[in-house]
Symmetry: D2
Subunit: 475 residues, 4 copies
């Protein structure tokens, strides 16, 4: 069982991808891009670069600024094409082996790969390949795809990759780096975002458009579901994987994951998030004096709530950004302290006020419970919690780590029970209906975590857990 | 010459103090308190603790979470009394010797001291003591006070400290820790804040009340200008230094330094800061569509501006908290990048809008200039900068590092020249008059950085710089 | 091209293995064992332990004391069986991926492997497996064997391992750790040593007997060429790989690699090394005043030389053990300095004397040249170099890194040319004949580096180099 | 109480000094010199350099190679004069504040100082200065001298230093570095060695001549007892402190401290050490088969013993240089292990033999006891311990840390009791008489640790311990 370690009661982000082809010092650009995507993963970071002949790779545990603290490292990654990867944080042991890009050699030479997403048939594929004589050195499902590429009939690399991906189901954006080409591909359902930019003569791909901005690249368009871009000496070519019966773009990117200044699935994240807040105000008004958001991410929805409700927006919680990650052992008595170290209630704002607290989503409810307590201690007269998403009742199998179903408070509690648990005067979630009416292409979104309506077959027995445990055989 | 390294065009904070007497594991409480005061100084951190007989000390370069990363360190600081110190960051070499608390031995035994503020007659005192045969191992003016205490006529420690402090001029809050007592003292003009709290049977003192909150202590009152508190086995006694002709509480604590959830000089910082914003709106209205603050600190003033002007508050800049400190060399071409890495403009909010940007203060103007450029690039139709404080035209000699006068853009440029430099459509500062009307005790505040009206004699020739250079003889 | 980085003109050692089964805290014993085997490899160290169900692994770059500096690490490796590995140092980049034990998962569960030796058909096997769809994540030939095990027909693990090893040619001792058994195996030609010990009810295996001594285990016997020991719940069983046409035990273990206090191939290393020295005296007497060895390793041969020649043994060079590894860039002008930092000539011993300097072997001759210069500068009247092994003229393909043939000075220079290069008055090598008469089983030794008489087919085109370069595609 | 942490039953070394004036990149030379003097102190290392105007300083805990691992550090120490210092290791907490050179500012500007030795009136001086209003930031007696210099009547620095030194008693070599001169001074009794060399136009001083060798400097002469050398723009001048009634050069430098390839007090250390061994053989013959030394330091004396006795010298113990310092907690049961990790008995040499084991000296006897046990376990028929110095019965107050008197086994046990404790068949010490007959100037040596005949007044009550404890008030 994994516990969300950040004291913030939200799903863990997944991963961030950045690729560039055709630029001087491509690794330097990848470095900047990974900075902009740091919010998508803080466990490890890595960059692989190609100088046309060889692929060099560096990865490590920790933030981008840590892994690439030594400037000599970037210098040791020469070449005009590079891919970078940020991996999400876990509470467990450091797993450098799982850091990406994965770099291997196979019959066509060296190959590096970076993956955002989660495959749903990983366990079955792995089992089959093991039976067939393969060895696995990581617990990552990304390694499976590299095996599949290596086993594909020899041919141009894009064909081999397409062949490999025809075997897998689930969510993925992949960046592959070979000595002479960079291949970016997004699954046919389009679970995770990936966008395309141009920077002078170079081509850039990134999980979010904010990474284009930081390197000064122009946003061109999103990479389509099922699209494979091949970038190389001959310029860029686009091809298609077989179409899927439906699209399933992760609505959680809008709710929480993406940076507000990113264009996601073609639309600015903050615009959608703001609309969620407005809709939330309509669905769940509250006779309150002020609206506050849980910083930093829920401020956008809170502004929307404020706008639609006419209730004044305030900054009622200050977030400290100095809290070390490993500061305090997660003993229950210390958890309160940890939340307090991270969030400082502004008494002058809260005292005597009826307060609407807007949060993006609720996973387990424990952090929010402590926040409500903090806000009450600061003198709030009433605390009305409003959540910019529906109750999360089902685990995600597509790359967002929301813990197990058992831990999802809404999977086993009514809204009123959740309200009581967190100690709020009232609690209102954004209903699924209302949420969908707010997004550009409601039919194309994945809302499985709210509805259980999974767009793919799910792993056998719903048991993501078992899979984890099994692979933990080699730690 | 020191350059503000943070890409944020604001004065550097000074230092944070925390002391506790009469509690189990006092060092653990000091550790928490320093976390809450981290915003006052990030260069180094340290704690000295007394078990009644011996004083143990640990200090190091970096954030509290770094210096005390190893739990064994806190365990090595036993006892019921402790003092802690955060020191502000500098661009120069690491100066562990300058980290505080300073721990020495003198005729009465061991003594530790932590200091927030700046003495104005330090150079003269040091020169005189050197002539008299003293050696100095740091470049800190705090060491001077320890020499003075050691040279005071033997007697009870509080008398010796009072004697020593009668020789110094300038700004200080001091915490002294002897094996059997903790002495907290604030200068007679009251430049820097220091408050008193109680926690069960223990007594707590801290630069800001937010540090009382984090340890669960109750706010009792501010320590008065010229008050010395002696905490020991016999409980707490209060005595007075000779009164000063006037008070001179640092108004910059309200403008920028203090955390908004802190009570400073008896009043909540966010309340005053908000009022500055309101007043600013009255003084400098702008026909704009939205108001944004430079995060995180200027959001409070921006909310006030929004409230008074009726212009909608928005979050138009997202601040990244992952940017490593030592990331990029400060070549001019990279400075823009650094600001961009730190602040991400939200296009959806800014595009096509007439934007009021509220900032706390302007020191050199370089960061704000880059921010204005970023905001324009994001599509803002107009950018109106409003500053929640008057033009800074004079250096501070009382503990806030605003660089040299030469660097203060307002010391040599008119408002319109500054506006042109930063590239704004309009620029409005909060006038001194308006600012003073907004604070509780206008006559008791120090506004020297705006007016040049220094409440004390200033160092000879205005040359803080020369003093620094001279002491740099031993690096 | 790899350059011997240690300033000591000798081949690089290969690797050290230690395994234990049936003991409390097996990882602690492995830790001690690796300390005793540190001389066999300093690049990286690692331990994998099994608690009967799971395998835990920790490895890192550097010495055993560095990799296991944190005691918590050993605690995180529970169980009654463990294997450990020391890897030799290289000048290149740190290659954590190549550190051993390699830990993988395959169809039968988790498996860890540690290898000492070198396969001669690695390139061909790897190429074939790549063609067949395998991916490789390291540049180590050990990974190939894990692939072969995974591809073997399902069955008991020892059978699968035997099947895998039937495909490989070359030198190896392998330790495999599965959740419920530890398998130790030595190739049929017996290139590298591996011995068996017992410690209470536990069984211990190690590259050298000195590792048995340190854990207090009793030496039982050497593991035979082609023997596979299976240690598990059912005790120990021994089985045999198919016999080889001849044995080929590495004579370099006696010359230089093994610790003098180790039993190697059943005989104490120091006894053989001493005999080499005596023989050397008979073959190459020198009218000298004193005999010195190049410390520490050549002292044993020097004592033998002294004994047989009647010339007094002296300590004429003091070796400093404080020299950091990365101290000085290898510019030619600094190499002298590096040798000087490491070896201090004792003037009082050398001055005016005719000196015999005994060294174990000569690879490139550069260090010895500098040593001769140092000894002359200390006043030696004559310097007669005597080498306790024959001229090394052929590269080793069985696990001892003697650089490429091109670098072996004796491969392209006569003895007299070598003498002139190193600047000695005379130079005498131990002849192959004489050397072989001195060892217990001359016919069973591999002497290929002296004679070119390789006991196996050698890698295509003699080009170990090309293989390295090819695999460097992924760095 | 301090315990000798090295598992080697010998006194701890004291400190190493190196200074150079008039050379390009003086700090680089100091760095090399400190490498050569590393055996004199491993706790901390530091260098101060002067560019004629400013003094830059870097120091840190650990070996020279650790403290100066980053090349940028040496580059940050510009100038043509530099002094360096190695400090001996302690078991206690890291005391960076005590690392040297101490760098202060006083009335004449910046000053750095490095000290080898120990003052006997330090406690009294410190107490008096504290009474007089001084503060102390370290627990080092060296700080006292800096206070005294600062308090001396203003004048040329050499005069001020001479004035200061007229107040102190005890053992010292001091190097002082001011912006424009380097002053080297040795106490009038000449306790510790200091020698003079020349390197092109530059002047070099060092504790031992081996540090001259490493930088390529020529040995000129020893600095005389009571001599002060002033090196500056005007070249070198020599002056004298008042003469002492007698000389008292530390005979332990010959016995153990100095490197054998160093000239000490004008004579090569290995020559004297060898003579001790010969004399020991005459005084205490043993009917043995072989002679071994405890490596590495006692090999020289063992060679002398071998020579004089005609008994064959052998290498019976191999010393491992890979043992980490902090490896194992000093629980008694683990101490044996620690000795075993460090010393490997060579069974082939020892088995069945009657062995003479030569050791330099015995402090507490615990390590030797374990070594004797190891040697017996390796099969030695008899173990005869011979010690190249007399029984240590009195603590040293002049800079060699031999623990307290209580810990000195010979202070409370007869030779036969010591023999029984260490488990030897026989035990023979070198008698004082015999030792003195072997050294060049017997009347000028200090032998107080053997005879109790202290050449100075000793600290009150013999209680070095109390002094330590008292100053531990501030840790």
């Amino acid at each position: 069982m994994r516990i969300h370690s950040q004291g913030h009661d939200l799903p863990r982000h997944n991963c961030g991808l950045f690729g560039v082809c055709g630029a001087e010092r491509a690794a330097d650009l990848a470095h900047l891009g990974l900075y902009a995507l740091q919010h998508r993963g803080q466990e490890s970071a890595g960059i692989a670069a190609s100088d046309g002949r060889r692929i060099s790779c560096h990865k490590g545990m920790g933030l981008v600024s840590t892994v690439f603290a030594d400037k000599a490292v970037l210098k040791s990654l020469p070449g005009r094409c590079a891919i970078g990867h940020n991996r999400y944080s876990t509470t467990g042991s450091s797993r450098l082996l799982n850091a990406q890009p994965l770099c291997v050699e196979f019959k066509c030479g060296p190959l590096a790969a970076a993956h955002n997403g989660n495959l749903v048939n990983a366990a079955a594929l792995r089992r089959a390949m093991e039976q067939d004589g393969s060895i696995f050195q990581t617990t990552s499902d990304s390694e499976i795809v590299l095996h599949l590429v290596a086993r594909a009939p020899a041919g141009p690399l894009p064909d081999m990759i397409a062949h490999a991906l025809s075997k897998v189901a689930g969510a993925y954006c992949f960046l592959f780096l070979a000595p002479d080409e960079l291949i970016a591909v997004r699954d046919s359902m389009g679970f995770r975002p990936l966008c395309l930019g141009s920077l002078g003569g170079a081509t850039v791909v990134a999980s979010e458009s904010c990474a284009l901005d930081i390197v000064g690249a122009e946003y061109v368009r999103g990479i389509e579901p099922g699209e494979m871009l091949v970038l190389g000496a001959g310029g860029m070519t686009s091809r298609r994987l077989p179409a899927a019966p439906r699209l399933a773009m992760c609505i959680f990117e809008y709710i929480y994951i993406a940076r507000p200044d990113s264009r996601i699935f073609g639309t600015m994240a903050d615009k959608v998030r703001r609309a969620f807040g407005r809709r939330l105000a309509e669905e769940h008004p509250a006779g309150a004096d002020i609206v506050i958001g849980v910083p930093d991410s829920a401020n956008t929805a809170a502004l929307g709530y404020s706008e639609a409700s006419g209730t004044r927006f305030e900054i009622g919680l200050i977030r400290s950004h100095y809290v070390g990650r490993t500061f305090i052992d997660p003993h229950q008595s210390e958890r309160d302290l940890k939340v307090h170290l991270k969030f400082n209630p502004v008494t002058g704002v809260l005292k005597g006020r009826r307060v609407v607290v807007v949060e993006d989503s609720i996973v387990r409810g424990t952090t929010l419970r402590q926040l409500v307590r903090l806000i009450r201690r600061a003198g709030a007269a009433e605390v009305h919690v409003r959540v910019g998403s529906p109750p999360i009742r089902f685990p995600c199998f597509y790359g967002v780590d929301m813990s197990t179903r058992k831990e999802l408070i809404a999977s086993s509690h009514t809204v009123d029970e959740v309200r009581e648990f967190i100690g709020a005067n009232s609690l209102g979630y954004l209903p699924v209906e209302g949420m969908l009416r707010t997004v550009p292409a409601p039919a194309d979104m994945c809302t499985a975590c709210f509805t259980g309506d999974y767009p793919t077959a799910v792993p056998e027995d719903f048991q993501k857990e078992r899979f984890d445990a099994q692979h933990a055989g080699v730690r």
